[in-house]
Amino acid sequence: MATATHSLHDKLTGAWGRTLVISVPMVFLLIVFLLPFLVVFKISLSEMDVVFFKDVLVWKDDVIAITLRFGNYIGLTQDSLYLETYLSSIKFAGLTTAICLLIAYPFAYFMARSPADMRPALLMLVMLPFWTSFLLRVYAWKMLLTDSGVFNNIAMALGLISEPIKMMNTPFSLVLGMVYTYVPFMILPLYANLVKMDLRLLEAALDLGATPWQAFWRVTVPLSKSGIIAGSMLVFIPCVGEFVIPELLGGPQTLMIGRVLWDEFFSNNDWPMAATVAVVMVLLIIVPLALFNKYQAESTAGGRA
């Protein structure tokens, strides 16, 4: 019995234990992400049958009939609406990511360089918005931005403008809403990265003749690259597929793929087409990111950059 416990202990702390610990999240992702994705992929290859879609696999008269319909994928390339929507989603997500980075970097830098006893409080402030409902916060922007909203009313009362500026349902309101919502996701990884930076490296740069500004660009920024990448991914990926913010704050000029997905599923009730749009979106995001990650892993193999 004693030896059995001993060997179990060895297994748990050795390679077995490692496999076990890694496999738990892996299995979880397999069940809640990969399997549903395959189901969606299967639906994208099926055909509509008036109100519902036919199954890809049909068992009838002792024959398994597999019907793969690629019509949806071909359709995607033929209707320019889809391509435009993808591009526009990527454009708005990219713009949001860039603005988030511009806002978050100085903020995270300031936080990381502030006295150690102040940092938890600053961190708390970054996370404070999460304590109220996301929907409520986005909806509040509506109140602020409409033609008869707070901003326009104040500006008109002060005589700065004679008629309301159209802010609501424009690219401006959409990007504002997305930046507002996602900026903490940029700040946190950047902060985590900047706070552990060895400040003597900056002294070394100054000592070698770099001005503080040069030291920032030549040392701080390159060393925070992994934080920039992590933050950008955390903002960019959900932004591409964002539905709620475009729905509440967007307008006719702000085509987003989430909106098209919703229409295909619930307005047109065309599940195979909706599934196709979803699959292509995932591939469009994952493939470049995977390539990028691979390149990153190679260039910093074993490094701590």
């Binding site: 070394a204 100054l206 770099a210 040069q214 390159p222």
Partner: protein, 384 residues
């Protein structure tokens, strides 16, 4: 104790003025004096070591030279120019940081070229200079590596090459070998001195390791509590310490507390409970004042028989500079043996005996009754 095998005499610069002049420099951190009115002159081509335990202010002094700390008051003149108001990146001074602070995202080549790029040096000149530096530290084959792919000793050489690349007027070394293990350190000390002398740069180093300071430096300043207590060549600091702190800090020492009995120009006699000390040189003091007699452990002879009169330096010393005691402890260290002898007065004296012959005839052991004695010319009288 290793001493610099080839001590380079401090040469005065062309105009006769010291190359680096530190004048009454003070640094206060909230009412605490980290550096307290230090005045120091360093000649061109010198390797000057600031030696002291942690918190003595040596690092603060070095950081003021580099420009990372602004002095509360005082002047620093480099080649006659006051550099106190200059930012670190404006000073013709480069530093080799403690544990190196190499840029982890840059290759060895780019680390060394970093400072040259900041000066806007043309690309081909940078390539030539970096090549020279890599040759100097013998790392040509490692130019494309990142710092984390190098051993500690190699990183140390990259750090040295990086700090020399801009041909600074003054090189600062902050605990240059602190991150290396003992064996490697010994070899690197002389290698480092060789490179610095080859380049001919004036150098100020900070260390807590007296052996490192004595091996590398032409002169040493011993610091304690923000003040420099003594400045001198390694042998001066060791053989003629000017106060009890320096005597105790550099190497080990036996301090006999006594009272001056006879004060003549050519000799003094100091009475302590252990014995009467005959010191064959004069001191600045008066009869009746309290003084400490410092005797280094290797200057003391240990034997079972009393020394023959003929063995003494001068017959005047007969009856002086000798005590009896019992061996309380001994440590055989290979090249030498350390004895702890409890004298009859109760004081414990440390004696080291070099094991020159393979079988030492003395063959002393625990509990042996022994005589310890020394020459009046080998002691230092400390009145501070």
């Amino acid at each position: 104790m290793a001493t610099n095998p080839n001590p380079k005499p401090a040469t005065a610069s062309a105009n006769g003025k010291p190359f680096l002049q530190i004048k009454r420099i003070v640094k206060k951190f909230d009412d605490v004096f980290a550096v307290d009115e230090v005045t120091l002159d360093i000649q061109q081509g010198e390797i000057f070591a600031l030696l002291g335990s942690s918190g003595c202010g040596k690092s603060t002094l070095l950081r003021m030279l580099a420009g990372f700390e602004a002095p509360t008051s005082g002047q620093i003149l480099l080649a006659g120019q006051d550099i106190v108001g200059l930012a670190p990146y404006q000073r013709p001074i480069n530093m080799m940081f403690q544990s190196y602070a190499l840029f982890p995202h840059l290759t060895v080549w780019d680390n060394i070229a970093f400072g040259l790029h900041r000066d806007g040096m043309p690309k081909d000149e940078i390539a030539t200079r970096v090549g020279q530096m890599l040759d100097l530290v013998q790392l040509k084959a490692y130019a494309k590596r990142k710092p984390h792919q190098l051993s500690g000793g190699q990183q140390q050489r990259v750090a040295l090459a990086r700090s020399l690349a801009k041909r600074p007027k003054l090189l600062l070394l902050d605990e240059p070998l602190g991150a290396l293990d003992a064996k490697l350190r010994e070899r690197t000390q002389l290698e480092l001195v060789g490179i610095i002398e080859q380049v001919g740069v004036t150098c100020v180093m900070v260390t807590h390791d007296q052996e490192e300071a004595m091996t590398m430096a032409t002169r040493i300043g011993v610091m304690s509590e923000g003040k420099i207590l003594q400045i001198g060549k390694p042998d001066e600091i060791y053989e003629t310490p000017n106060c009890r702190f320096v005597a105790d800090f550099i190497g080990s020492v036996n301090l006999f507390k006594g009272v001056v009995e006879v004060d003549e120009a050519d000799h003094v006699v100091i009475a302590s409970p252990e014995c009467r000390h005959y010191v064959s040189h004069g001191i600045t003091g008066t009869e009746g004042m309290e003084a400490h007699v410092a005797v280094r452990p290797e200057k003391i002879a240990i034997q079972t028989e009393p020394p023959a009169d003929a063995e003494r330096d001068s017959l005047a010393e007969v009856g002086f500079n000798m005590a009896q005691g019992e061996i309380k402890d001994l440590a055989y260290l290979g090249s030498l043996t350390t004895y702890h002898v409890r004298l009859d007065s109760g004081m414990v004296v440390k004696v080291t005996h070099t094991n020159a012959a393979r079988r030492d005839s003395t063959n002393l052991t625990w509990g042996d009754r022994v005589y310890v004695w020394w020459c009046g010319s080998d002691v230092v009288v400390l009145t501070q």
